[in-house]
Amino acid sequence: MLEIQNVSKSYGQKKANDQISLSILPGDIYGFVGHNGAGKTTLLKAIAGIIDFDEGSIMVLNKSVKKDPIGVKKEIAYIPDNPDVYESLSGIQYLNFIGDVFNVSAIERQTLIEKYANMFELKEVLSHPISSYSHGMKQKLVIISALIHKPKVLLLDEPFVGLDPKASFLLKETFRQLCEEGASIFFSTHVLEVVEKLCNKVAIIKQGKIVAQGLTQDVIKNQSLEHLFMEIASEA
């Protein structure tokens, strides 16, 4: 589904990603953890085709991000760490815009928008300007926009930040449901408990390098992810 091979990306002298290789299969909920500035966002952006990378290859459903970026983008949804969306639009105008870009029919988008807007309690404010939304409401809107075109791969950068407990729970449930339907989810987070409970796979990144990856239970073994993370962080 998503194949990352030897990907490297530098910003000047600093290597943000150093020979990263990961394989994400259909049905995977893959957690991606690391300290601030470790290179999580850079990798997510490289997969989403937002930034270029220096070496390696990224394939999504056998399409190369470098050679066929538009083809890849049709299959994925990306949610950034900060939900900055067009404040001049209303919620529904933004969702319609995303629907138009992904060529979602009017009937289908109505069904999906109503479903997710009800779920995340955003239906009443869809006609309101986004500028009147709180941070959490914007986050919910971005999540809905990522779901209305039924992506095969979801890339999310700290998706639980700003969500209330109910929305957070519903999002996790949605993740599970999407993966049961064959989608793959790759997300970064600092909430290690979420990874332990939700993800079947995990990767830990440190200074641009993957230092641990695999099935969550195999990686953490008989300790907690927090202990493992602290151990890795304290290693020179």
Binding site: A48, G49, I50, I51, D52, P69, I70, G71, K73, K74, I76, Y78, P80, N82, D84, V85, Y86, E87, S88, L89, S90, I92, Q93, N96, F97, I98, G99, D100, V101, F102, N103, V104, S105, A106, I107, R109, Q110, I113, L126, S127, H128, P129, S131, S132
Partner: protein, 530 residues
């Protein structure tokens, strides 16, 4: 602490990266190109503006009215202060974006406010200097340099913006307060601002028909203004007559009013910054699930963005307003135009090419493609992550600009054709030329933004008015227009004006075709590098 704050605010507004949107250290070629361009513009501007004022000062000196030149300096500074206060006082004083950062710090409210006002004043000084230097150069050239004259001129210039900022900041707040809770608040705000600017514009450019120098027409307006605003008189008396009492009055009044303002509005400033700017929300508006093509959707997004930023419309919509106003005016001033026509015919000049120059200047002032990509700013991740070809994004920005210009121009051409009795061929040539120039300038503007983007900004005005892309586009646009005019001039020596225009239209279409091919590759390459 005040100086530290000013330093931080100044860096935030005027650092080279902030001004140019690029790190100049990383690109030598861009730096050299920019420096050459800026030097060229500076020389042309100071030279042109200086020439007009030396000409005016000479005339006024002969009639012993040289003091009027001084009133020009203060009036221009006042004008710029008025514009700055109207457009920026909300962001600098009443609703500044870093309030949540500054409020918890152990700083006196007056220190923060004074630092904010200082940066705003620095902005006025920086822009006014371009006008004031040639004016004073002309004045002192004919009057002779004196210690007190120069001292009073400098201090007077520094104090000139204080009272306009005090008054107009309240006007700005009032307009925002009145309009923000109404439907179409932004549109109302735009209309009010346009009405205000056009009023000032029309007043200050009442051109004296008999004079070649347009400044002569402004003398009466400025003299009239001085009657109602005595500080202009005090300033002129202080500089021109070395009247110490007038200087004291001017300085005292300006400083006392400004001091009272700073002390008096502190609580009010805290209150406005704490209150949320609640926009009007239509709670009865129905949610519709309408589907559109990608291109239409992108263009609609541009329209929404455009009309949600009043300063964007005010700065890039003036050209369109001028086209419309001139076309409507042609219906009412038909006889005056006919007089000009007779003069032109005697000079062997055709009206259509001259009108095209006016249209061209107005179209060049509509420069949205040179800033619209930058305005994506922190939202740019959306377009970059969506399955949309970067060329399609750029094309939507070009088409949006063309849609702003062409429909109004069509109405303009129809009105002009009626009032000036153009033939169908003349009308068609006008339309084709306008459409071709509009597409060409929009495409070139989009190239400028592609290579000189500025995605980091606190306020849109930094992109729309102060970015290097807008600067290059407007002056580059004028250069393109002048080049095309020269092309016409040479062709017209051997061909009729109809054939000249047809050739120029053909050249513009051909050039545009080539530019589109290049833009396709360039957009894809640049987007991934941003």
């Amino acid at each position: 602490m005040y100086l530290k704050l000013v330093k931080v605010f100044f860096k935030e507004n005027f650092s080279l990266k902030r001004l140019f949107g690029i790190n100049l250290k990383n690109s030598k070629a861009k730096t050299i190109g920019l420096m050459v361009l800026m030097a060229y513009v500076l020389v042309v501007f100071l030279g042109g503006f200086g020439f007009m004022f030396f000409d005016l000062a000479k005339l006024l000196n002969e009639s012993d009215q040289l003091g009027v030149v001084v009133s020009f300096a203060v009036t221009y500074t006042l004008g710029l202060s008025i514009m700055m206060a109207l457009l920026r006082s909300s962001g600098y004083i009443f609703h500044y974006k870093d309030y949540d950062i500054l409020a918890p710090l152990p700083l006196k409210g007056s220190t923060v406010l004074f630092a904010k006002l200082s940066v705003m004043l620095l902005m006025v000084y920086l822009t006014s200097t371009f006008f004031v230097i040639p004016i004073f150069a002309a004045y002192f050239f004919y009057n002779g340099l004196s210690f007190f004259g120069l001292l009073y001129a400098v201090i007077g210039f520094l104090l000139a913006p204080l009272i306009p900022i005090v008054v107009l900041s309240f006007v700005n707040l009032l307009i925002t307060k009145i309009t923000q809770r109404l439907p179409f608040a932004k549109l109302l705000n735009i209309v009010l601002m346009f009405a205000l600017f056009i009023g000032i514009f029309a007043m200050s450019f009442t051109i004296n028909e008999s004079s070649v120098n347009p400044l002569n027409g402004q003398i009466d307006v400025i003299s009239g203004f001085a009657k109602y605003y005595p500080l202009v008189r005090f300033f002129v008396e202080a500089v021109h007559e070395t009247n110490h009492l007038s200087f004291l009055l001017y300085t005292g009044i300006s400083l006392i009013i400004f001091y009272l303002y700073v002390v008096g509005i502190q609580r009010f400033v805290r209150k406005t910054n704490q209150s949320k700017q609640n926009a009007y929300i239509n709670r009865n508006k129905k949610v519709t699930f309408q589907s559109n093509s990608i291109r239409k959707s992108l263009i609609l997004k541009e329209f929404k963005t455009y009309f949600s930023i009043p300063i964007y419309v005010l700065n890039t919509g003036l050209g369109v307003v001028i086209i419309f106003a001139l076309s409507v005016a042609s219906l009412f001033f038909k006889s005056d135009i006919e007089t000009v026509l007779v003069e032109l015919t005697s000079m062997n000049m055709s009206l259509v090419p001259l009108l095209l120059v006016v249209f061209g200047f107005s179209i060049t002032m509509t420069y949205t493609p040179s800033v619209s990509l930058s305005l994506e700013g922190k939202h740019f991740w959306i377009l970059k992550s969506l399955p949309v070809d970067p060329f399609e994004v750029m094309l939507s920005k070009i088409l949006f600009n063309v849609l702003l210009v062409v429909p109004v121009s069509v109405i303009g051409v129809l009105l002009l054709s009626y009032s000036l009795e153009f033939t169908a061929v003349e009308g068609l040539l006008l339309l084709l030329s306008i459409a071709a120039y509009s597409v060409l300038s929009s495409t070139l503007f989009s190239f400028v933004n592609l290579y000189f983007p500025k995605f980091e900004f606190n306020n849109e005005v930094e992109v729309i008015k102060q970015s290097i892309a807008s600067f290059i586009s407007v002056f580059g646009g004028f250069a393109l227009l002048i080049t095309l005019s020269f092309g016409y001039y040479w062709l017209n020596k051997v061909l009729t004006y109809e054939w000249c225009l047809l050739i120029i239209i053909g050249v513009m279409i051909g050039l545009n075709y080539l530019l589109f091919i290049v833009l396709k590759k360039a957009a894809r390459k640049q987007f991934i590098n941003f």
